[in-house]
Amino acid sequence: MIPLSWYLLLSAALFSLGVIGFLIKRNLITVFMSIELMLNGVNLSFVTFAHQWHMVKGQIFVFFVMVVAAAEAAVGLAIIIAIFRTRSTLAVDRIDLMKL
């Protein structure tokens, strides 16, 4: 028996590590991975609350988040490939124009 708040604390810690990664990493792909880490942290708290309130819908929400994350990863990585093709760099400091 362990308290439910431990799971919530873990999910908060994962989310914060994702935010830190988003702020300090300087590689476009790693920044994108930090976003995935944040999504995973939020998913964990969804599953925890679904367990607490005995509701299945929380888990279905996580399922939808996974689907959207998969779509987001496909489109995001395609954008990264397009940026790399025109700029030939992945450093976020050097990608400072919206224009291709």
Binding site: I20, A50, V56
Partner: protein, 174 residues
């Protein structure tokens, strides 16, 4: 038993996430993200979410991370460099994130009515999940398939080379 499992896999999860931040090469970050996602699948299993644990392994640790490593290798991404921007982000961002985390932790620790978790209570079977998913939430489920289709088309359109014959022709036509 439950406590040991939680400590081991929560520790793995946090260690993987911290390693993701410390590594400078993207491929190392991607592999530590796989560790985070696999240990999260075990935590889902401990919370009684069987289907999600399997989906986490297949979709996240499998499909999405393969896509990430594929792109890292395709673009031949090198080590990242430290710049002025990253130092400023560290100086301003870390205290801000620490404040946010401490606020969230305070709220969680003050929350009333959270039951302790036992290892085998309240297991959600795939049958229960699909009953809700395919009856009440059928429309959102079908809309998701349209979303996936659009994402595939968008990815193909974006990743196509700019000098491509078809891309040029449709771009010039007005």
């Amino acid at each position: 038993m439950h406590l040991i499992l939680f400590i081991v896999f929560a520790g793995l999860c946090l260690a993987g996430a911290i390693n993701l931040l410390l590594q400078t090469h993207p491929i190392n970050s991607a592999l530590s993200l796989v560790v985070v996602m696999s240990s999260l699948a075990v935590l889902y299993l401990m919370l009684g979410a069987e289907f999600l644990a399997a989906a986490q392994i297949i979709v996240y640790a499998g499909a999405i991370m393969v896509l990430f490593t594929f792109v890292v290798m395709l673009l031949n991404a090198g080590r990242e460099e430290r710049t002025l921007g990253s130092r400023a982000a560290k100086a301003l961002g870390l205290p801000a994130v620490a404040v946010v985390l401490s606020v969230i932790a305070t709220v969680i620790l003050k929350a009333q009515g959270l039951e302790p978790v036992a290892l085998s209570d309240n297991i959600t079977s795939t049958t229960d999940l699909s009953k809700v998913l395919f009856h009440e939430l059928l429309l959102p489920f079908e809309v998701t398939s349209v979303l996936i289709l659009i994402a595939i088309l968008g990815a193909v359109a974006l990743a196509r080379p700019a000098g491509d014959e078809h891309g040029r022709r449709t771009g010039v036509e007005k």
